[in-house]
Every structure is written in C-alpha cells, then in structure tokens.
Symmetry: C2
Subunit: 192 residues, 2 copies
DNA sequence: GTGAAAAATTAGGACCGCCTAATTACTGGA
DNA sequence: TCCAGTAATTAGGCGGTCCTAATTTTTCAC
C-alpha cells in the first residue's frame, strides 16, 4: 500500500543501516556483518538481527555467513539518505557559516528529520549543487549518482598541477588542517 | 553526572511530552493525564506510564489522580524545545520560502534533531527575532519568555483600529485563509 | 585434511514507548 | 450520603533495537 506512494517510512536505525551498507558494498559486492557492526558501533548480533528484518522487508539480500547486498529498493532508500546528507552539508556551509569539518555530525542527525520538500528547497536555494563541501557527488532526487573519477593525490607525478576534486577525510582535525593549507575541492595544487 | 553539563539528552517522546505539558499547565496550574493524552494523541495509560518515568527523572511533579506540573528542570527543557520550534519556523519562512501554514509540521520534526549551535546560528542569521511567524514569542536561550499581552480581536469595539499581535490558529486551511485576507502579525485592522 | 581462530548466528534478556482490558479513585447529582 | 459516570492507574502485551553469552559455520595455516 505504501509501496504505491514510493516508500514506507523507515526508522532512523534502518536509514543508518542502509547508508552504511551502501557505502560498504560497492559495485555488486557484499558487506559483512562485522564491517557493518564496526561502522555503526554496534555489536555483531544486533546487526545480524537487523539484517534478518531488513531482508524480510525486501531492502537487502542476505546470504547467511556470506554477506549482504542492497536490493533496488534498499539502494534507492540509501541514495535518498545520502542526497539528504550532502545537501544538508552544502546548505549548512553555504548559508549558515559552518565549516566543512563540523557539518557531518549535524547532517547526520538532520537527515532523518527533514522532509523531502525541505531538502528540495535547500537544494534549490543553492542552485542545485552537484557536490557537497567535501566534493562528494550529490545523488539526484531520482536516485542517480555521478560516478566521479579522480586520481589520488599520491599517484600524481611530481611537477604536475591538478585540481582537487574531493577530500575523503572524515576526521574533523584533519579536515581543519587540510582547510588551513587550502586543500579543498576546487583548489589547484602543484605536486612537488 | 550529566546534570553537570546542564541536561542529559532527552528522547523525542519525552521532549514532546514536556512541550505539551508546558502549554497545558500555565501559571502554576496543573495538567491532567487525559488532556495530555488528547494533545499527543496517545492513550491515557501510555501517558500515565510516561508521567511516572518523567517524575522519577525529576522533570515533573505528579500528584496521583490530580495532575502534573513541570519542575524547574522540566520547564527549562520545555522552553528549550519551544525556542527551537519557533526559531525553526521563523527561519523556514524567512529563508526557505515556507508559508506560515506549512512550517509547523516541519519544525515539529526538526526541533528534535537540531543542535543548540544550529539553532543559535539560525537565530543570528535572522537577527535574533523575538517572535515566530504566528507572533508567538521566542524564549531566549537562557529560558526567559516574554509574556505577551494582547486582546482577542473579538473583544475590540467596532470602529477601532488595532495591530495584530499573534494568530493562534493551528489549522493550515484556516491559516491560509487568514493570510489571504492579510490577517497576519503586524497588520493593522479596523474593526467594523 | 584438520583444528584453531575468526566470523556469524542463535538464545535469551532489557528498555522504551506504545497498546487494550481491567481495576481503582474521584466527583457531582439525587 | 451514596452511586453512577468519569478519570486515572495497574496489569499484561507487543514491536523495535539494543545487549551478552553460547553456539555454529567458515576460513586458513599447517
């Protein structure tokens, strides 16, 4: 019945599981119980139990003792959360003076509470950006996400000048340091 | 231990109870179980159970079969939620194009998720407003709330011209109607 | 190929926040 | 004053999400 309107409301927990599983199972690969548990800072049995419920709900496929993969529906829900998260981060930085090291935590809580409508208003207010402050691509409302390709800085030969695409660090201290030396998406750096 | 830092984190449910109890027990009066249940759209036994937990936590005082009243701590928490709610409403209207009939629902969800810091940034971005879009006063961060005095429009004698202070309607349809005839806080109306 | 370590699951329990049904306490009219 | 109606509480349950302890399955090194 709710399938008709697109998606039944998911709990915060479920939303968190889906996001983590999405990021742990790229390209048709599979996420393990213990990796999920580690990322969510939960015990493995808790994750086992949730996996059972989620696969019964059709959000993921589970091969016992092997791993877990999102279904199309699970992936859609995960991308919806990632879109929310990244638009929130972009908005907080652009409009409310947040620094990129501080937005993650705030967005992590807000992403469960904002309505679809508010997210779209925020996106629109920003001119529908396609990346968040860290350079991560923002999925479209339809669930399409750009596969961005970038070469790790470490692999750039000395002497070349390149543009920073994204910064995958998560640690606030590290992010502050990187910002302090100007190492942010869009910056041009010469490798020495 | 958490009392030292001001307040332990409250659950969404608890926050909702405190808000409702605050609004139902003005001036040292008491709120009844059934009124609370009605406002929260919960069963009376659920409310009874929660009241027990909240009074054990020191957030309210309960005289069985008589009613309930917030403690200083409960009142502080309630005012914190009201501040959040009203700043959110003000921000959504001022900065994201919401109309005053649509903000309530959004703020009701966000108020549980925003950080103190975000609320203060929003307030600051708006120049620390002292009322929300409905004219309701916004408590300060310290928990002080303006007692606004206004005369119901119905009590104004015909022929007088007065300024609308606040509009206590909650129904979105009614609010849209009132907005359509210009009946919003700040408007000057002549009573006929 | 086997046995120990690692990973995953099952078993069993707790807490929160809700419910309905049953009971108890209060209140106001005859 | 007493009793009926109303309000509140207690009793007992349930789903969701977490936990620890015990068990099972898999994997890997020898």
């Amino acid at each position: 019945m709710n399938a008709a309107i697109g998606h039944e409301p998911l709990t915060r927990s479920v939303e968190d599981y889906l996001k983590v599983i999405y990021s742990l199972s790229p390209e048709g690969r599979t996420a393990s119980t213990s990796d999920i548990a580690h990322r969510l800072e939960l015990s493995a049995p808790s994750v086992s139990g949730m996996i059972k419920r989620l696969s019964e709900q059709g959000l993921l496929e589970h091969i016992p003792y092997k791993g877990v993969q999102l279904t199309a529906e699970g992936r859609r829900a995960a991308l919806r959360m990632i879109r929310r998260h990244r638009i929130l981060e972009a908005y907080l930085v652009a409009r409310l003076g947040y620094t990129w090291d501080a937005v993650h935590e705030e967005a992590d809580r807000l992403e469960h509470a904002v309505s679809e409508g508010l997210i779209e208003r925020m996106a629109e207010a920003l001119g529908n950006p396609d990346a968040d402050p860290h350079g991560e691509p923002i999925p479209t409302a339809e669930g399409w996400i750009e596969e961005i390709e970038a070469t790790p800085l470490a692999e750039i030969p000395a002497g070349e000048t390149v543009e920073i695409r994204r910064v995958t660090a998560g640690d606030p201290d590290r992010l502050r340091y990187l910002a302090s030396i100007g190492l942010q998406p869009g910056a041009l750096v010469a490798v020495v």
